[in-house]
Amino acid sequence: MDVSINNLTKKFGNVTAVNNFSLEIKSGEFVAFLGPSGCGKTTTLLTVAGIYKPNSGSIVFGGKDVTFAQPKDRNIGMVFQSYALYPHMSVYENIVFSMKLKKASEEDKKKAAQEVADLLGIGHLLERKPGELSGGQQQRVALGRALVKKPQLLLFDEPLSNLDARLRISMRTEIKRIQKELGITCIYVTHDQIEAMTMADKVAVLKDGLLQTFQPPIELHTHPCTEFIGSFVGNPPMNLFNSKVVEKDGDIFTILPDKSMMKVNKIVDPKVYNKELRVGIRPEDIEIVDKGTADSSTGIVSLFEPLGRDNLVNVRCGNKTIQLLSSPKAGIEIGDTINFKAVDTQWQFFDLESGKSLLWHTK
């Protein structure tokens, strides 16, 4: 089912939680709402669910305006961070609750419950109460409860945030598998960019109630169209500093905080020279070089964090700290002086005032 959200605005008193938000979701698409806490993503989701009524704007499900329809008339499923299972009902009763309200027959209920239980591997838990289940099991039951209605739209509100790291990864895969298998349109709210990147077909990034961008996850990483997206998406986060781009002998360079110059490839030419702007480079796009060259920089290692596969190295560069990734085999220690150089095609440039990218203009 296609979902379109048109100029949605939701205010709580004087606070505008969602500001003129528009989005077109195609049938079968998995869309993530990504943003820091308080950015309005959950408010948008609850408005789509019909729990909140918007101050203005409309929500259209498959050509039908549902802006003011009751939640029960929307045929949606919802999964919560807190699982929100009904504590006084058994797993089976939880799953078939929506069918009970529709006065479905015992047989239909049993059959439907069996189907989702098989899909999610929770068949052996049907007689238990939610209090007798682990977090992962509860989340599966919550998913089953949402799926049993055969919803046309599935809403997730940070469903994996309460699970431990390992379980989160496996549930991530599982949700993705089920979504593809059933072809349900999904909206998935998260503040975890890895979840958004790995699961979603398209990611809507929100900040202060405003939609920043709506694009496929990989583009989000390579073509951040605002400074906020650049800094929010990607782990470890992008290095950002104020600087200029200068032209010299037909080549262009950017100046690092320690006044050294690094080359900028023409394919990422911001076309704004000698003017203060915001320069970004991701830690994984900086490499350590043995010998200092004309377009490398030098700095002292102030800290490093072993991440397993890589080490995250903090280097003092002028008055700023630059983060870069190095191989654990490189044997770098705190206090070492190292030479480093950026991959010249990976620079990002943003306007200082508006924060908009000088390279990419997708919306």
Binding site: L46, A49, I51, K72, M78, Q81, Y86, F97, E132, S134
Partner: protein, 304 residues
């Protein structure tokens, strides 16, 4: 290494409260029951009484008033409990939850007024409400304008007024307990049930009320016991006339305040003692009915 000895400190901390409970709650019950085995009264005085065993209880059993006073007590307790202390309390709590926060709060605090009004003043207000025209509000406003005959409504509907007077005080207790219990249900569960297709009535029936089992048990038990034993507002309202003599008031009348001036301490104590037994029986029935054992059962959690 010194072996760790189980500490007795906890008992010392419990001692002050323990002494108070023993002195003011436990001892009076024992004394009452002991007195109920005697024929102590104004006639015998405090020196010439003798032990009569279960005689007083036997007297209750054959007393011509026992049965209908017991019946009146049951009507009074059950109606006040079902329609007000639990029913109305639950209804107000549910209504207030669905109102905007400030309106709901105001609505709830209105219901606290009867509780904070001095009992005698409050009961007198009811008396004036029921009184004959031109003083009685009900008569003056709803009967006089329509040319209907007026009368003092209190003697005609004495039991109804007893229930109303107590109910309007009692409802606020349940309301407070139920309101806080409803507020403590997670908002995700509330949202989830709406998404699952419940309207607000279905949600109240299938989601909210079942989760109020423990507060329901508490309010029902507590209020049954207090309704069985409290009689002050009935005393001020009708003094047990017009078929409103309930068991505890009967006990009071027998033991401490009666027309004939012969205060039958022994017989009155037996009436009270029986009330204690009835209260305990009710409490046990409630605990069984609400499956209290299940409520305090430890959860079992296993691995994924």
């Amino acid at each position: 290494m010194r072996k760790h000895k189980k500490s007795n400190v906890a008992y010392y901390f419990l001692l002050p409260a323990g002494i108070l409970i023993f002195l003011f709650f436990f001892l009076p019950v024992i004394l009452t029951i002991l007195i109920s085995f005697t024929d102590m009264s104004s006639v015998t005085g405090f020196s010439n009484w003798s032990i009569v065993g279960l005689n007083n209880y036997f007297k209750i059993f054959v007393h011509p008033d026992s049965l209908h006073i017991f019946g009146q007590t049951m009507i009074y307790v059950s109606c006040t409990l079902i329609f007000f202390n639990v029913g109305m309390g639950l209804l107000i709590a549910l209504l207030a939850y669905h109102l905007p926060k400030r309106v709901g709060g105001f609505f709830r605090s209105l219901w606290l007024l009867p509780r904070i009004t001095p009992a005698v003043v409050y009961v007198l207000m009811w008396k004036m409400l029921a009184a004959d025209a031109p003083y009685g509000v009900l008569n003056e406003l709803f009967r006089v304008p329509f040319g209907l005959p007026t009368t003092n409504l209190l003697p005609e509907h004495a039991m109804l007024f007893c229930i109303l007077v107590n109910g309007y005080i009692g409802a606020s207790f349940g309301m407070i307990i139920f309101s806080s219990a409803i507020e403590s249900i997670s908002s995700d569960i509330m949202t989830s049930s709406l998404v699952d297709g419940a309207g607000i009535f279905d949600r109240a029936r299938y989601i909210i009320i079942p989760q109020l089992r423990w507060p329901l048990l508490f309010v029902t038990t507590y209020q049954t016991l207090s309704l069985l034993t409290s009689f002050e507002s009935i005393m001020v309202l009708t003094d047990g006339n017009f078929g409103t003599e309930v068991w505890s008031l009967w006990s009071y009348h027998k033991a401490l305040n009666n027309y004939y001036g012969n205060f039958q301490y022994g017989f009155g104590s037996a009436l009270s003692g029986l009330l204690v037994v009835v209260g305990i029986v009710f409490a046990i029935i409630y605990l069984k009915y609400f499956k209290f054992g299940e409520l305090v059962k430890e959860p079992l959690i296993d691995e994924i």
